[in-house]
Symmetry: C2
């Protein structure tokens, strides 16, 4: 572990947050009382499935940047009819869209983050917008030094600007910043922009044994979870 690392940037969806079971729970809570019965996990996967294609429109320059809350709403309206759901009122839709503000963290996150905060500056570097990050932090007891990521940068990972804007906000060169993620693609992009990288295994992200058990690219640190990461970074 390089001693010069001053700041850690975190991917959020999947790396710190178990979005899949949380979204399934929130969707059921919102829609079951209206008489809808469906495979809630499949619904969560379908909603999440629209995530990359929606951001790609922005990354490719075909749509101007907008915060992820807007894309989530657009995606929700695409996905609901596929499950035979229509006629959901605006208030209920709007509240369901905030499901992404009510995710639960993986069990190791609160303790791991508290340890890491003693040694490093901490910020999310997520494609989620500031308000999502703020609500998730309050819900899960995470203390950030700043909220960085897509909304600061005006683009979505893995575009270079997102990583570089995070480093610049902390007045740090990329070599003193480390991206922490459960996704090798994110880490490869961070490394290509000069950041250090740490992989955290989230093997169950999309269900049992579906996630990355380890990095598929070269990283500086590979950790089993955030407490393991804290130990490996001497925090």
């Amino acid at each position: 572990m390089p001693v010069s690392v001053q700041a850690l940037f975190f991917d959020i969806f999947g790396t710190l947050m178990d979005w899949r079971s949380s979204i399934a729970r929130e969707a059921e809570k919102a829609l079951a009382p209206q008489g809808h019965q469906l495979d809630w996990i499949a619904f969560a996967d379908a909603w999440r499935g629209e995530y990359q294609p929606a951001m790609e429109e922005v990354r490719a320059g075909r749509l101007p940047f907008c915060k992820l809350d807007i894309l989530h709403r657009h995606n929700l309206e695409r996905v609901l009819p596929r499950f035979g759901i229509s006629g959901v009122g605006e208030t209920a839709l709007s509240d369901l869209n905030l499901a992404w503000h009510r995710l639960d963290a993986w069990p190791d996150v609160a303790r791991g983050m508290a340890r890491l905060r003693k040694k490093f500056l901490l910020a999310p570097c997520s494609n989620g917008n500031i308000s999502i990050m703020v609500d998730l932090a309050r819900r899960n007891g995470i203390v950030w030094d700043a909220i960085l990521g897509s909304e600061i940068a005006g683009d979505f990972k893995p575009k270079p600007r997102v990583y570089l804007a995070a480093c610049e906000a902390f007045n740090l060169p990329p070599s003193q910043c480390m991206m922490v993620a459960a996704h090798s693609r994110d880490l490869a992009a961070a490394a290509a922009n000069g950041l250090r990288t740490a992989h955290v295994a989230r093997p169950d992200e999309y269900g049992p044994a579906t996630g990355e058990r380890g990095p598929t690219v070269e990283v500086d640190v590979a950790a089993g979870d955030l407490e393991d990461l804290a130990a490996k970074l001497g925090a």
Copy 2:
């Protein structure tokens, strides 16, 4: 106090931080060992005196936005010769410029902010850049939900964009946000953009009995210090 307020935005220099005695101390620490003797408080006032004119170049559109660290450095180089100081090396200059990252808060701040955090989302809405805010928070035990203000907005207060960008980052209408400042000009601009306002008295900002003992404009709340503000907001 309106019950609908969800978030408090804070002015930093003067309202939460005693910049004057901190800058005087830091300047003496940096320059006295090099044999310089001068009125350190006068030096702090002179450096701070360049603050508004420098930002005005940006607000007026004559210079592109840049973070306050850059303006502080430019201002430092203008002020040093007036005190007969030249030949300071780059490392020392660069470190002295970070004096604004090492300010001490007024004595009521840590306790008042901890109380306010239990009830409200909290963010700085300062003309300082993110890195200054991050370092001041760590130094003074302040926990923010996000760092908002000039660097997010790409302009300086009292331009409307700075207040509105802060509200938008929290997904809140201005009517559910409250600007907290020791300066009536800041509060007048916030109110003109639809935010609620709270004045905090800092009568000694520029030396004994030089600051605003109370607001000179209409505000929603006028407080003696941050603990008084917490009490008045029911936190």
